[in-house]
Each structure stands twice: as structure tokens, then as C-alpha cells.
Symmetry: D2
Subunit: 254 residues, 4 copies
């Protein structure tokens, strides 16, 4: 029986500011990547989000980012490997505090935004992230980009002794080399729900994705990333989940 | 054989800003209260400080404060109990990350500055702090003010199921009721080294302190707080340690 | 012909976080109190908000708060008068930068949240705020609470040489002493639109408000504070404006 | 009679953290670049520093940086031109607040750290900085790197309508192309006081600098940057000033 995980970035509200429909999306996903207060999220939101994940049997993961609340962690910062390593230890540690409070096991770490995208292309950053994770707990799963593009990140994760989880984005276009099409390009984000669901199914059932040039490329996928920041995104996640279940795929946490 | 712990607030540097002579003081103390990045400290400093504490066999404790870097956590903030609880879980958790990296056991939690002083006098804050600690790990020690003034904080710590450590300040004047003399009063801080050492000895050997009115008041002390922010403070700590050892007192971590 | 100003707190979004319906509300108000990046708002939002105010002929005012983004400036902080004074100079100055960019005149300063509420009851804070404003420009208007409760704040504003603007809240209940009913009390916020409009009219036309005990209390009002954070709040502001205009009241900036 | 300005970065303390010997250095310099609270400095420090500059007849300039207190503004951040523009307007505006308080004229803007170094090599950033300055006040001077390396920055400053001030560093090694030798290279910073003074003299009197390969390269210099962060740096500044005055050079603000 095929298995897949559905992950979603959560806990990105901050103080008086609300972002995302976490309370709605939580019922459809199997893993939550929880912001740790640096690019988004705060201690109150982390508390609520870990509690909610535990109540729904959803895996708890850390979603650390650059120290850039004003830029939502989406801007690259020229940090040293030691800075990156420590930024992750701090943020993952903070989430560990909440895991202890709610008796949750921390399952995985997925870097956020610019930190994730830089880790995909920059060996030094990829290694700093991986070393931070393994230094905390070698049982933590390292979420890396599925496909050719993510190979370096994956290899480094394995080298330091981590198990790597391959992540794919059913609502994102891929190049024939298996890279994500840049968000600056038209068509980078696929908006038609039926199409996204179809891509999600193909990723899981056939382990393939149709690239922008029409070619069908193979890749391993362990988890699909979904979004919960709009009512339609919530509906779409529900649709993806139901379509997968209808095909006999088991939804299970990382 | 009498035992005492010497604790010191450490890791209060931030980014390019250096504060304290941690590298000097570490050799004389037995417990380090490490700032967690909110009122002082940052992830790089925490890394270095936990590593140094482990290397010197010094107990690692968390020293969380209000989210007030600009005010060094010295200003009271009108937070709800739930905010305080979460501020502590976050900060203590972050330090736990570094404990995992360096294989250290987190031994204790001592709130910083305005948070400590408010917990001494405000039941709701004292309880929020204690509940945060116990929710993370009931084996964590709760550092509370020794003497009459600290009784409420202590009682609440015990009520929630924590072991409380009584802390005294050999360089601070006490009232005949066992309260610290406010820093705004003249003579609140005792500067003459011989006098501070003498007070430290009396606190440990006789379990008493001479109050400002000359009366001798009894109190239980488990740990003496020393300072490491000036070269003379480092010298004084060395003096306190040597004087205690000369009297056959064993210096041992909490 | 009677005149009144309608003011609204604006520019409270931050980074990726959106708050308020500024683009809708701007057409109905005559003065904007613009957040200055400490309790809310950021430099991008300030730029956009000042530009928008200028385009709509709306008065630009500063809305400075405590350095407490995570608490939205709603929590009291135990700051010294000199700290408060400097917190205001900094924030008002930052807004002055945008006024220079868009050729706007800065018209007024209205402290935000806990800073406002503390200034209403605490002489030292009220004076620190007033002195900050006058030190920048004695032509700046100081927005203070209308009614008995605001008398101290007003007197201090006058003493330091500022012109004080009396602000009233048509959607808030008042005690018979002219105080705002605390938000913790039931009925503190009046939600029925017709009632709010009626109160706004009475405040402007009769210079009176009906207190919770049914008594009619007199007070001077220069500006009514409205809200723009929900679609219904925007509708209500439109209703207040139209009702005032129907009565021949001229809506004009401070 | 030859004239030169001596500028120094000042006001880089933050909260409880002290950096620099501003009180000592102020008597030897003619222009102060004052940190604006984002990479360093805070509202209390700005107040004190502007006041001190005014008292000493020293020109007040803004020294804005990236929003990166933890990295002291020394790390590049991938910001959009609009973000950079607004980051400057905000920070320069904040300093304008203090200029109004102390009746000072804001004379110049010198970007800090990574923002400065990026503006030297990146046209888009150089333009964003220049446009921010001119949008506030076209009389503000734009401090740019002297020599070939600074030509682009200078040209863009002129294009937007600003007067550009050429800045040189007597304690830094230059390449034969007129670039600063990277701090990562050995010999990038010249430490021998006599040599620094000699270089300062040659820069001002001969408008030349001896490059690392021994060649003598020409450049225009309006201001020399000195440091005030150590007692020896203060002494060195005194030495530079006295040597210049002994040669009949007039020290005068930008």
C-alpha cells in the first residue's frame, strides 16, 4: 500500500497579526512545520500550534528561518555557517520546549523560505543546516527538495547521518531538469485545483511529474507540501487528501 | 561537610556587543544562569556559553527574561500569566537545544531582572514562572530569593511540584525583614570586598545575614549569586570561593 | 457651521502581515494616526500610508507606541520619562522622514494603546509625551482624551505649550464621570451601528454623551476616533460621516 | 588653504551595551555619522549623541544600515530597491527628529557596513540609497567611497541631484586600482600609527595614496574616516588631527 505525508507550514501568525487558516487545515494534513519565532510565529502561537498538532495526531516539525521578521524570512542573508547552525539550534530548541510541554516527539526540520532555497543551491548552507539538525538529534528527519535539484541537499543530509525526506510541491511547475520554476516566471504556481490534484496523484502513484516542456520526469516523493493560507487552499488540501485516499493511498505522518 | 553553589548570570553579550567576563568567571563558579536571547544573549553566545560551562563542569541553567532587549529585561511589562508562561517555555526550550548539542543536562531556571523581581512580589507571575518550568521538566530546579521575602515564590514553586533553590546575594544589603534593600537606596550594594566575603561566609556557615539595622536574621541559602561583569567582580568571586574553601565548605553545583 | 475631524489609526500592517482596511477607510476620514514601526507598522507601510493620506487630503499624524511589537503596544511597560520622551522623538522623527518625501505637514501626535492609556492616568508619562512632542515642534497638536478623565493630560499639554485636541470614541461607553468604561466590562464597546451614529451626532451637535447610568454629560470634542479594521467598521465610518454631513457638520482635518 | 573633514561612526551603543569611546573621540572630529537604531544605536543613544555633536560643533550625519542588529549590519541582505529606500527614509527621519530637538542641521548620510559596501558595487543599491536621500532633502550630502572603486556610487549620487563627499580610510590598504583591500586579506588594516598618520597626510596634501603594490594612485578626498572604538584609536585620531593642523590643513565639517 502506498503511503504519503501531507505537510503544511503552520504557526506563522505573530502577536496581533493572524496568518493562515491553521485551525482548518490541521484536519487534512499529517505533518506540521511550525514557525519558530524568527521569520514568523511567536511563543504564544507555537504553544497553540503544537497543542493543536498533538490533538490531531499530526507530526510536529520545526520550520526555522533567518532572523528577519520584517521580511518574513524570504530574503537571503549572508550568514556564516556557524551563524546558520546556531540560528537553527536556537529555533529548533525553542520548539523542543513546547514538545516537552505537550509530550510531543519532534519529528522533522524543514528550513523556511530563503534559508530553504539557499540550502538547495549552496553546499555550505546545506551542510550548516544538516549539521545543526544532527547536532540536536540524529533521529530528526531533514526535509529536502525532491528531484534532481535537491540532490546536493539530500547527499549532504545523508553524509552527516540524517534521514532525508523528499518534498514535492503539487502546485508548483517543474523544469525538465526537475527544478522548481522560479516564482518570477509566469506559470510558476499552478492555480487550477483539478490540475493540482492530478499532479499530486501522479507524484504519489507514478512517482513522476510533468515538466513545463511536457516531459515526464521521475522522482521520489515522501511528502507533499500544501498551503493553508486561504479558504481555497484549505479546500484544495481537502481535495488532494480525498483524491489520494480514493486511490487507496495511506496518509501517514513522516 | 557544608556545601554551597556559586551562581553567576552569563551569556549576556549580544552580536557585536560584549558584556561580562564570562571566560574569567567560569573557573570560580559552579552554576551558570545563561541568558536566552530575549533580554540579552543571542544564539551564538548561548552556543559558546553552554560549551564553556560543560567544559568547566559548571551546571547549566536558563536565565529567561522579558522580551525587552532595549531595556535589558529590567523593566516590568504588564504581561498575562499565559504570556509569561510561554515566554519561559520558548527561552528555556532554546537553551535545551544547546544542551542537546553539548550533552549537557539543564539543571535550573532563574528568571532575570524585572521578571525575577516581579515573581518575588506577585503571586500570579510567580505561579506562571513555576508552571512554565514544571511543564517542561519537573526535575528542573526553581531558583528563588532566600529569606522571608522569597517565601511566597518558594511556596508556589513547591505547590506546582518543583524543588526550590534559595538564592542569596552577598553583595546586597538586607532589611531586618529579610528583604533586599532597593537599589535606589544608598548602601544597597556592598562594595568593600572584605565585607562581601565576610557576608558570604556568614550566609553559608551560620545561615544568617546582618541586616541594615544591625540585627542578625536567619535564612536558608543553597546558592550565592556572584557577578562577573568587571575585573574586580571576578577577583571578588575568586576571593569568595577561596574563603569558603578555606573554611572547608564544598563548592558544588546545584 | 459646526466642524469635526474623524481620525483613524492606520498603517498597522507589518511585513507580510496585513491589518486594517486602510485603503477603504481613508476616503471617509480626515486625519490618519500612522503607526511608526514600534508597536505596529513598518517603513514600507509608513511610506504607503503617508502617500495615501496625502493623496486623499487627510491630515498626517504620528501614532507612536511602546517598543512592543509582539504585544502590539497594548501592555504597559515601566519606562522612565526620558525613555518615553526618546521613544516618541524617534518614532515621530521617522514619520517626519516620510512627510518630507511626500511634502506633507505632520499635524498631530496621538500615543498608541498602553502608552495613551497610561498618559491619561499618569502625570509623569503624560508630561514625557507632551515634552517629546513640543521638543520636536510646538505646532504639533497633542491628541488627548476628551472629558473629565482627560483633563490632566490636557492641562499638561497646555502647560508645555501644545495645542490639545479632544478625542472622543462614539463606539465606547462612558461612565457618568466621563471616563471610558474599561474594555473588560460588558457593554464597553457599542456594536449597534445606529446607536454609534446617534452617539457621534450627539457628541458633535450637542457636545454631550449619554453615560452608562443614563445621565447626559457634557464634553468638548474636536475629533472622533473611528476604526477601519473590519468591513463593518468601514461601513460604520461611512455612516457616521454621512449622518454628520446630513446635519450640516463640516468634516475637516485637525 | 587646504581643508579636510574627519568623520567617525558614532552612537553605536545599544541599551545596556556600550560600544565606542564617543565622548573622547568627539573632540577631535568634525563630522559624526550617527547610527539610527537598526544595525546599532537606539533612541536614547541617538539623543545623547546628537546633543554631544551639537555641543562640540560637529556635523550631524545619519548612518543607516540594514535591519540586522544581531549582525551589526555587516551582513548583506537581499532587499529590493524599494525596501532599501524605505529603510533609509525611516532611519534618516528618526535622526531628523533629534535634529529638530537640538536645533541641528542634518548634513549628510553615510550608509553603514554591508549597505555601504553593497552600494559601492551594486548600481541598484547605490541608486536606492541615493534616491532615498534626495527624496528627503536634496541638500543632504551623500558620503561615497573615494577613488576609482567609488566612481559608480558617485556618478549615481550626482545623477539624482546630490552632492557627493569622497571618503577615504587612512588605516586601510588600497589596491593599485584604488579599491579597498578586503578585510579578509592580510595587511588590509594598517595598525602602525605613524604609517596611518603619514597616509592621512598624503591623502590630504597630495591627494594620493600608496597602493599595496607600491604604486602611487591619485584620488580626491573630502573626508577621512577615523575610528573611536578603542583608546588607541582615539589617540590615533588625535595624532591625525594634530599632524594635519601642523601642516596648515584646516579641519572643517562637511
Amino acid at each position: 500500500m502506498k503511503k504519503i505525508d501531507l505537510n503544511c507550514d503552520m504557526g506563522e501568525s505573530f502577536g496581533a497579526y493572524k496568518l493562515g487558516m491553521d485551525e482548518k487545515i490541521i484536519q487534512y494534513i499529517t505533518s506540521a512545520n511550525i514557525a519558530c519565532g524568527w521569520h514568523a510565529g511567536d511563543s504564544m502561537v507555537m504553544d497553540k500550534t503544537v497543542k493543536m498538532a498533538v490533538e490531531h495526531g499530526v507530526s510536529v516539525g520545526a520550520h526555522p528561518g533567518y532572523p528577519d521578521l520584517i521580511g518574513f524570512g524570504r530574503r537571503n542573508m549572508d550568514c556564516t555557517p556557524d551563524e546558520i547552525r546556531n540560528y537553527l539550534v536556537y529555533q529548533v530548541g525553542a520548539l523542543l520546549g513546547y514538545c516537552k510541554v505537550y509530550g510531543a516527539r519532534l519529528s522533522h526540520v524543514k528550513p523556511h523560505g530563503a534559508l530553504y532555497l539557499t540550502a538547495v543551491v549552496n553546499k555550505i548552507v546545506a551542510r550548516a543546516v544538516a549539521e545543526a539538525i544532527v547536532s540536536i538529534d540524529s533521529n530528526l528527519l531533514y526535509v529536502a527538495l525532491a528531484g534532481t535539484k535537491g540532490e546536493m541537499m539530500t547527499r549532504i543530509g545523508n553524509e552527516v547521518g540524517l534521514n532525508v525526506i523528499y518534498e514535492a510541491f503539487p502546485d508548483r511547475a517543474y523544469t525538465s531538469e526537475g527544478n522548481l520554476v522560479s516564482r518570477r516566471e509566469p506559470g510558476a504556481v499552478i492555480k487550477e485545483p483539478g490540475q493540482v490534484i492530478e499532479r499530486a496523484l501522479r507524484m504519489v502513484l507514478e512517482k513522476r511529474v510533468i515538466a513545463v516542456d511536457g516531459s515526464s520526469i521521475p522522482f521520489e516523493v515522501d511528502t507533499l507540501c500544501v498551503h493553508g493560507d486561504t479558504p481555497t487552499a484549505v479546500e484544495l488540501t481537502k481535495g488532494i487528501r480525498e483524491a489520494l485516499e480514493a486511490e487507496g493511498v495511506e496518509l501517514s505522518p513522516m
